[in-house]
C-alpha cells in the first residue's frame, strides 16, 4: 500500500506538469489534451480526499463533456493552425512579476495565517458520499439547485435566439 503522501506528490506533479504543458504547447489540440490530463489527475486527488462523487463528476463533466466540446470547436474552427504571436511585449515580464508576488503572498499566508484562518479541519468521512451530496442538494440547497436549472434553460434560449438565422423584414 502506497502512503497517501507519495500518491499525492506524484499526482500533484502530473497536474502541475500538464497545466504547464497546456500553457506552453504551440498547438491548441495539445493544450486541450493536456487540460484533460490535468482534470483527470485533479479528479484522482479528489478521490484521495475521500470525495468519490466529486471525482466522478469532475471526470464526466470536465474531462468528458466539456473537453469533447472544446476539441470539436478547435477542430471545426481550425484554431490549431493559428500562429501564436506575441502582441504585448511587456506581457512576459509583467506576468513573471505578478506570479512572483502571488507566490510570496500565498507562501506567507500559508505559513503565518495572518488573517486568522484556521487550518482546514478534517472533513467528516461521509462528507462527500453521493448520498450526502444528494442530501445537501435537495435539502439545504434545494432553491439554488432549482434556480440553476432555470438559469441553464435561459442561457440555452438566449444562445438559440441570438444565433438562429432568420429573415428580417422592416416595416416602414
Amino acid at each position: 500500500m502506497i502512503p497517501d503522501i507519495v500518491l499525492f506528490i506524484i499526482l500533484a506533479l502530473v497536474a502541475v506538469a500538464s497545466a504547464v504543458g497546456m500553457l506552453f504547447s504551440k498547438n491548441a489540440i495539445y493544450s486541450a489534451l493536456n487540460l484533460i490530463l490535468n482534470f483527470s489527475s485533479v479528479a484522482v486527488l479528489y478521490l484521495i480526499l475521500g470525495a468519490p462523487f466529486i471525482a466522478l463528476a469532475q471526470v464526466t463533466v470536465y474531462a468528458g463533456a466539456i473537453m469533447v466540446l472544446f476539441l470539436f470547436v478547435i477542430m471545426l474552427l481550425g484554431a490549431e493552425r493559428l500562429r501564436r504571436s506575441e502582441t504585448l511585449p511587456y506581457q512576459q515580464p509583467v506576468s513573471i512579476i505578478l506570479a512572483a508576488i502571488l507566490a510570496v503572498v500565498a507562501i506567507y499566508a500559508l505559513l503565518f495565517r495572518p488573517l486568522g484562518i484556521e487550518a482546514a479541519s478534517v472533513a467528516n468521512p461521509d462528507f462527500s458520499s453521493p448520498a450526502a451530496m444528494a442530501e445537501m442538494l435537495f435539502n439545504e440547497y434545494l432553491l439554488p439547485f432549482e434556480v440553476t436549472s432555470i438559469l441553464l434553460l435561459v442561457a440555452m434560449i438566449g444562445a438559440i435566439v441570438l444565433t438562429r438565422k432568420r429573415q428580417r423584414r422592416v416595416q416602414r
Partner: protein, 483 residues
C-alpha cells in the same frame, strides 16, 4: 426539508414561482402563435405578470424566512416585487408596437422578459449570497440577450457583447467577493455572517475585502462611477424598449442586493465602508450630471441621467451603519427607486414614440416643435424632465427630499450639498429638452400607438398625483426589512 416544509417555502415565493412557470409555458405556447399575431404572446406575458402582481398585492404583509434561511419575504421584498412586476408589465406595453415597427417581433422576447423579471424578484427575497449570485445571473443573462435581440443590427450586437463581457466580469468579481466573505465567516447566509461577526470568529480583513468586492461587482450592475463605462454604449445600442426596462429593473435589482446585503450583514463594517460609499456617491452624481450636459443623443442623455440617479440612490446608503438611520436609509432608497421608475418609464415611452427605424429620431433636434404636433407627448416628457430635475410637486422632488433628509439625519451635510448642487446642474440638460420641445421650430415624427400613450400618460399622471399624496407610499416603503 420535508414535503410540507417545502410546500410552505414554495408558497412564500408563490409570485416568483408563477412567473417562472408562466415563462416556461409561454415558451411552448408561443410556438403555436403565428408570426402575425405575436401581440397575443405579449398579452399572455402581461397576464402572467399581472397574476403574480395580484398575488403579491393580496398578501402584502406576508413575512417569512424559508428555504433554510436562503429566502426572506418581508416588507422590503414585497415592495420591490411590486416594483419589478409593474415595470415588467409597463415594459410589455412599451415593447409591443416598438418591436413590430422595428421588425424585431419574436415570442422569445417576452419569455426572456419574464425570466429577467423572475431573476429580479429572486434578488428581492435573496438572503443568502449564493441566491444573490444566482439571481444576478438569472436577471442578467436574459438582459444580455435582449440587448442583442436586434441582431444583425451592429449597434445592438455591440451593445449586447459589451454588456455581456463587462457583466460577466462584474459577476466574477461578485463571486470572488462571496468567496472571500465565505472564507472570513464560514457561511454565505446573511444572518450567519452577522452571527460570525458578533461572535468574533470572522477574519475582519478578509471580510472587508469581500464586502468591497461585492460593492464593486454590484456597482457595475447599477452603473456607479467609476464602474459605469459600459452604460452609455449599452443603453444606446440596445433596442429602446429593452433599455427602458434595463435602466429601471436592473438598477433596482442591483440596489436591492446592495441594500439587503449591506444593511443586514455588514453594518459592523460601516467604519471602513461609509467613506468609500461617500466618495462613490459624490463621483457618480458629479460625473453623471456633468457629462450628460454634452450629450445630443437622447438615449445617451438618459443613460448618463441613469448613472447620476444611481448616485442619488447610493446617497441613501451612506449612513447605513447608524442603526437609528438604517430604516430611513432603506425607505428613502426604495422611494427613490419608485420615483425613478415612474420618471424613467415616462421619458422612455416618449423616446420610443419618436424613434424611427435605423436609429433615427433620437437626436435632441428631432424633439424640436413637439409641443405643436404632439402636445400630449410634449407634456408628459416635460413632467418627466421636471421630475428628474426634482421640481415639486413631482415624485422626483420627494425622492430627492427623502434621500437628502436621510443624509442629514446621518450627519453628512457636505454630501447633501454636493447632491443639491449637482441637481441644479442637471436642470440645465433636462430643461433643454423642454426648451427644444416648446420653443424651437421643427417637424417631429411620432407614432400613435394606444398602449404607448397609455403607459406614458398614466406614469406621468402618477408622477404628479403620487407626488402630492406621497405619505402612504413612503409609509409603505418604510416597512421594515426582516432581520
Amino acid at each position: 426539508m420535508n414535503l410540507s416544509n417545502a410546500s410552505a417555502s414554495l408558497n412564500a415565493i408563490l409570485p416568483l414561482v408563477v412567473v417562472i412557470l408562466w415563462a416556461c409555458a409561454l415558451l411552448l405556447v408561443d410556438l403555436f402563435i403565428t408570426k402575425e399575431r405575436k401581440g397575443l404572446t405579449a398579452l399572455l406575458a402581461a397576464i402572467g405578470m399581472l397574476a403574480s402582481l395580484i398575488i403579491t398585492l393580496a398578501r402584502l404583509d406576508l413575512e417569512a424566512v424559508v428555504f433554510n434561511g436562503m429566502v426572506t419575504v418581508d416588507g422590503f421584498s414585497n415592495f420591490l416585487t411590486v416594483l419589478f412586476l409593474g415595470s415588467g408589465i409597463v415594459a410589455v406595453a412599451l415593447s409591443y408596437d416598438y418591436l413590430k415597427r422595428m421588425g424585431l417581433e419574436k415570442g422569445e422576447y417576452y419569455v426572456l422578459l419574464l425570466f429577467t423579471v423572475s431573476g429580479m424578484m429572486l434578488m428581492a427575497v435573496a438572503s443568502d449570497l449564493i441566491v444573490v449570485f444566482l439571481a444576478l445571473e438569472l436577471l442578467s443573462i436574459p438582459l444580455y440577450v435582449l440587448a442583442g435581440i436586434a441582431t444583425p443590427r451592429l449597434d445592438s450586437e455591440e451593445s449586447s457583447l459589451k454588456y455581456f463581457l463587462l457583466g460577466s466580469f462584474s459577476t466574477g468579481i461578485v463571486v470572488y467577493g462571496i468567496a472571500l466573505v465565505f472564507g472570513a465567516t464560514g457561511t454565505t447566509s446573511l444572518a450567519g455572517i452577522v452571527d460570525a461577526i458578533t461572535a468574533g470568529s470572522a477574519g475582519m480583513g478578509l471580510l472587508v475585502a469581500g464586502a468591497a468586492m461585492l460593492l464593486i461587482g454590484l456597482g457595475f450592475k447599477v452603473a456607479l462611477v467609476p464602474f459605469h463605462m459600459w452604460t452609455p454604449d449599452v443603453y444606446q445600442g440596445a433596442p429602446s424598449s429593452v433599455t427602458a426596462f434595463m435602466a429601471i429593473g436592473a438598477k433596482a435589482a442591483g440596489f436591492a442586493a446592495i441594500l439587503r446585503i449591506f444593511i443586514q450583514a455588514f453594518p459592523a463594517l460601516s467604519v471602513d465602508l461609509t467613506p468609500v460609499l461617500w466618495v462613490l456617491a459624490a463621483l457618480t452624481m458629479i460625473l453623471g450630471n456633468v457629462v450628460a450636459i454634452a450629450q445630443r443623443n437622447i438615449k445617451r442623455l438618459l443613460a448618463y441621467s441613469s448613472i447620476a440617479n444611481a448616485g442619488y440612490i447610493l446617497l441613501a446608503l451612506v449612513p447605513y451603519g447608524q442603526s437609528d438611520v438604517a430604516a430611513d436609509s432603506v425607505a428613502s432608497a426604495l422611494f427613490y427607486l419608485l420615483a425613478y421608475a415612474f420618471t424613467s418609464f415616462t421619458a422612455w415611452s416618449v423616446v420610443i414614440a419618436l424613434e424611427q427605424v435605423e436609429g433615427k429620431g433620437l437626436e435632441l433636434e428631432d424633439y424640436a416643435g413637439l409641443s405643436r404636433r404632439y402636445p400630449i407627448l410634449a407634456l408628459t416628457m416635460t413632467v418627466a424632465m421636471l421630475s428628474f430635475t426634482g421640481v415639486p410637486p413631482t415624485l422626483g422632488f420627494l425622492g430627492k427630499f427623502y434621500v437628502f433628509r436621510t443624509l442629514l439625519e446621518g450627519g453628512f451635510p457636505g454630501l447633501a450639498v454636493i447632491g443639491v448642487v449637482t441637481s441644479l446642474i442637471s436642470a440645465y440638460y433636462y430643461l433643454r429638452v423642454v426648451v427644444y420641445m416648446y420653443m424651437r421650430e421643427g417637424e417631429p415624427q411620432a407614432i400613435r400607438d394606444p398602449w404607448l400613450y397609455i403607459a406614458a400618460t398614466a406614469s406621468a399622471i402618477c408622477l404628479v398625483v403620487l407626488g402630492i399624496f406621497s405619505q402612504p407610499l413612503f409609509a409603505w416603503a418604510s416597512q421594515a426589512m426582516l432581520h
